[in-house]
Amino acid sequence: MSTPVTEFTKDQLKEGRDQFKVGDGVRVHTRVREGEKERIQIFHGICIAKKGSGIHETFTVRRIASGVGVERVFPVHSPNIEKIEVDRESVVMRAKMYYMRERIGKRASLVKEKRLVEQGR
């Protein structure tokens, strides 16, 4: 058989882009092009989902900006991402934290699913 498709995207995969998990507070440094100039913009929020694999892999970051919930989906291996910082870790019992969308107020930014693990269960 011929070479699998994944071989042709290998060189576009970025290393060290798997350092965060669902539930982590992340700061995504993205390159933004404004006319000729390029600057770094930081999107700060909670990673609520990771999807796909290989070059197709994306992650969703949710934050509350000016009282409005904002979600951005980034391709994990996007060259537009300068770096991804993790500033808060948490242990979540789910792969997708879509229930965060229902939350309002203070609870919207709280991740509290640490309980089970702390108790050693």
Partner: protein, 214 residues
């Protein structure tokens, strides 16, 4: 410039372009295509070039095929295709066409046989609306009226009816080449192509590019 490359559809994936956007691409293993015969107006009545593609066991070729390929000095190939020559172009038997004929940014047409869908009704085949689902309706996925009554007394030709869908030769025009990988004989073509993975495709320079782009 007229030529074509025979290839195999490998599958679809995505790549980042120069603006860092993710583009959907189809990976096509195209060529190398050795020239197996050059047809001339004097000898054959028209000017064309016949090329081959793929690797074939020698035992699977018929004797006439073996002789035909031996004449051009070409190893056994799986398929042969030909394309017409424009004025003032020439190829030699034994010469090989590769993906390097194409460059990134070129527009191409891709010809392939679409996926066979079998015998399908009009809803799937021609996007008919179908009838009501409930309220006592009995025309769920029917095609409605098929025509008139005693006058004219027959169904008009070309009436869309259920039948075999897919497995037709289809051409997709003006696809952009996103990448050329000569080391793997691979073209990355933006968008989707007809047919299942592993099927035969032919890639040629686009016939109808917009003038501003050309």
């Amino acid at each position: 410039m007229s030529f074509l490359l025979i290839g195999k559809k490998i599958g679809m994936t995505q790549v980042f372009d120069e603006n860092n956007r993710l583009l959907p691409v189809t990976v096509v293993e195209a060529g190398p295509c050795p020239v197996t015969q050059v047809k001339t107006v004097e000898k054959d009545g028209y000017a064309a070039v016949q090329i081959g593609f793929g690797v074939q066991k020698e035992q699977r070729l018929s004797e006439p095929e073996k002789g035909h390929l031996a004449k051009a000095g070409v190893d056994p190939v799986r398929v042969l295709r030909e394309f017409r020559l424009a004025e003032g172009e020439s190829y030699e038997p034994g010469e090989t066409l590769t993906v390097e004929k194409f460059a990134e940014g070129d527009k191409v047409d891709v010809v392939a046989v679409s996926k066979g869908k079998g015998f399908q009704g009009v809803v799937k085949r021609y996007n008919f609306g179908g009838g009501q689902a409930t309220h006592g309706s009995m025309t769920h996925r029917r095609g409605g009226s098929y025509g008139f009554a005693q006058d004219p007394g027959h169904i008009i030709k070309g009436k869309k009816m259920p039948g075999h869908m897919g497995h037709r030769r289809r051409t997709v025009q003006n696809l952009r080449i996103v990448g050329v990988r000569p080391e793997d004989n691979v073209l990355l073509v933006k968008g989707s192509l007809p047919g299942p993975n592993g099927s035969l495709v032919t890639v040629r320079p686009a016939k109808k590019t917009r003038k501003s782009a050309a």
